[in-house]
């Protein structure tokens, strides 16, 4: 019972992250399924994809009502990604996983710095003492 509640709680948290940042939630789903519900890694990764579907459907529905979703680009990116997955699977089977994970981890930190830097630069003119904010992006 406690574990089920924990899984539900982590599900909600993963969903909030998904709706807010446009990530799937699999990052939290997989450990919840393996550590919490005792699934194997393979079953957890597969089941995580299934759990992402209602998450994304609900989040996209809401975002669509806000006018934030660009449907055509979403379909193009999604279909291209399905093709990219095939390539990733082939490479993943051939390369040492540990080294790759570290490289990707470092790359993500660099990208994080770049995302933050862009936002920082963009925001600076708005810090000028004026009543209106020219950089405000009202949808």
């Amino acid at each position: 019972m406690g574990i089920a509640l924990l899984a539900i709680g982590l599900g909600v948290v993963a969903g909030v992250l998904a709706g807010m940042f446009g990530v799937g939630g699999g990052i939290l789903f997989v450990p919840t399924l393996t550590l919490g519900l005792g699934l194997t890694q393979l079953h957890a990764e597969a089941t995580s994809l299934l759990a992402i579907i209602p998450t994304v459907a609900a989040g996209t529905w809401r975002q669509h009502r806000y006018g934030n979703v660009r449907l055509r680009p979403a379909v193009v990116i999604g279909l291209a990604a399905v093709a990219g997955v095939e390539g990733g699977v082939v490479v993943a089977e051939r390369l040492p996983q540990g080294v790759l994970e570290r490289l990707f981890g470092a790359l993500m930190i660099v990208i994080a710095a770049q995302v933050a830097w862009r936002a920082w630069r963009r925001g600076r003119p708005a810090a000028a003492p004026s009543s209106g904010n020219p950089h405000n992006e009202v949808p």
């Binding site: 994304v56 996209t60 529905w61 680009p73």
Partner: protein
Amino acid sequence: MRLVLIGLVAGFFSALFGVGGGIVVVPLLLIVGRWQERPAMATSLAAIGIIALAGAISYGLHGELKPGAAALIGLPAAAGAVAGAMLQQRIAGRNLSFLFALVLTVLGVKLLV
């Protein structure tokens, strides 16, 4: 064409590292596509739906899905996603960038150690 490349890269990395495609799609849309935060994140979410659907079908054919467990976390997550989208609408674009950078950093550190 640029969108096709973004999708290919996202799918590739997602399969390689087991990270969700969104963690790749969002920064690419922000940095390469020069999109604003809200459309980038919302569009990434929709794109992930296609990736997850294709993946789930493929795993499902091999009988590796646990629908009960998926519902246990997926249905609360659906409610969470609506809340997350509403929350996002109330946060300024650049603050979303900062928060997303934080999420990326945490994940990056987790992969590094």
